[in-house]
Amino acid sequence: MSGTGHALALQGLTKCYGSFTAVADVSLRVERGEFLTLLGPSGSGKTTILMCIAGFVAPTAGAILLDGKDITPLPPERRDFGMVFQGYALFPHMTVAENVAFPLRVRKLSAADREAKVRAALDLVQLQGFAERLPRQLSGGQQQRVALARALVFDPALLLLDEPLSALDKKLRAELQEELKALHRRIGRTFVNVTHDQEEALSLSDRVAILNHGKLIQEGAPAHLYEQPRTRFVADFLGKSNFLQGEVRESVPGGFVIGAGATRIVQAVAENHRPAHGSRVLLSLRPEKITLMSEQDEADNIVEGRIAAWSYLGAGFGLNVETPDFGLLRVALPTWRAPIAPREGLAVRLGWSAAASVPVMEDAA
């Protein structure tokens, strides 16, 4: 299990089914040894892209390059990619060892080589002692590990993961997320993962590509995507967000001011991204970046409102605060530092800095 990963590039990848465009002109690079996640809601085209990479779906247009070499016309059996399928697709009539040995048997390795590699792969996923079991005698998490061992045993150029953790319950999922991440670090291979679970995408990946309606909306490191969403969709899909709409009223040093009704909001902005005076802008504001202020506290932006609903979430409170100019604003409050005991109808002052929110684009229809 040594060696470095391979680099993958998608160039203008497009897939149409009749008049329906499942993937529209997606270009993307996956660097050597990188863990890239394709993230999107169902129907966003993420699985179609993965199936194109694996070779099960022929793209309508565009090319797929592995280390600069065009592999678009190659059938899946000639691509040498490991894949973990949704639901694992273990062969039910074979034992764990036979399942893991399958890619080696296909490649006509000697029995001794096969045995050694199977043992190494089962060690890698900590399944020693399960070799003679049948898949149906294993738990979901163990089956997932067998699928991983089977996908890695033949030193594939690339590991493709199709919603690898979606069939597991929440606690096990978190556990396997950590294992998968550690495994990726250990073997240094290139992983391409598909998921609709934004938490999984954020915690596992070096880089995330967000898709919607077959289009690549934004890509980048998880923190970059979370802090600097480019569109309303990205801000809404990755985590939670409030959206504040207003009209640009004036310029201030390092930012601008929008007005909505009687409220003025200061927004920080880079000099070369200043919006035109009078244009309408949309700001994304994360619930955890809003703080509850006392009467004396000062902040760039202060908005008053009343708690319309609240819920206790263990680590925090979730408040829905009704405001005159922005409707309901969601506020996340750490429980142990909450300055108030929430109750419906309570008047609160919300504050945030000019750099807390970020201008985003309205989604193209």
Binding site: A54, F81, G82, M83, A89, H93, F102, P103, V106, A151
Partner: protein, 262 residues
């Protein structure tokens, strides 16, 4: 199941009536086969196995049994290979046209066999296949295909297509995927189809009446001739043997299904 609705007296009676109606004609041959008389009748004074002895000691009957068996084996092989390949092909391509082909494959059990037999008679005359082992095996093989197509298609419908994708993704060629993944998964369906195709050939009469005359003389054909020519109770003995053999095959099928579902 404790609280399932119990059937009323009328439904029970009707169900029993149907069951008896189905079973009586089969069971009636058992006492007849044990008759001590020399003609088709119920035993008069004692039970006798002499007609079984006649059948098992007669070269004609044994020859027919052997012929029927060989033809059934050969036609089963034809039906299983052709039917399985057809079902897998239709399943893999899975287009509108393959639906049509699958329906077409069922024609032999939709069209009355007498119509089929007349057609075969015309063609086989030209091909010099009349009254030949190969001719009958072919005819039975082709008419046995629907049973295999149905059972294998059913098995394939339950087959997870991702297993095939997984195999190919790991580098397996089509033939490796077929041998190591698809066939082992659908084997119970193939065996079921084979058993039905075998039974189909084993008791087929109408086609044989048309395309065979002297050299090929299957068991059903000999029973038929026996009934037409004399009322020898040996036929009842043969019929019992036939029923027992078929029953054993069906039990085998049942056992295999049980094992698969376990």
């Amino acid at each position: 199941m404790d609280h399932a609705h119990r059937p009323g007296p009328w439904i029970s009676a009707a169900a029993w009536a149907v069951a008896i109606y189905l079973l009586v004609p089969i069971t009636i041959v058992i006492p007849v086969s044990l008759t001590d008389q020399r003609f088709l009748s119920l035993p008069q004074e004692a039970l006798s196995l002499r007609h079984y002895a006649t059948v098992l000691g007669s070269p004609e009957w044994l020859n027919s049994i052997w012929q029927s068996f060989l033809i059934a084996v050969a036609s089963t092989a034809i039906a299983v290979v052709a039917g399985t390949l057809c079902a897998i092909g239709c399943w893999r391509l899975s287009r509108k046209s393959t639906e049509l082909i699958r329906a077409l494959m069922l024609l032999p059990i939709i069209i009355p066999s007498i119509v089929y037999a007349i057609g075969l008679y015309r063609y086989f005359a030209n091909l010099d296949l009349l009254d030949r082992f190969l001719g009958v095996a072919l005819a039975h093989g082709v008419t046995g295909i629907p049973y295999v197509v149905i059972t294998v298609s059913t098995a394939l419908a339950a087959f997870d297509p991702r297993l095939e994708q997984a195999a190919r993704g790991m580098g397996a060629s089509l033939s490796q995927t077929l041998r190591w993944v698809i066939l082992p998964r659908i084997a119970p369906g193939i065996v079921s189809g084979a058993i039905f195709a075998f039974i189909h050939s084993w008791d087929e009469l109408v086609i044989v009446l048309f395309i065979a005359s002297r050299d090929v003389f299957t068991l059903p054909r000999r029973i038929w001739d026996g009934i037409n020519e004399n009322l020898d109770p040996a036929m009842a003995a043969v019929a019992v043997l036939l029923v027992v053999f078929t029953l054993l095959l069906l039990l085998l099928d049942l056992a295999l299904r049980k094992r698969r579902d376990a």
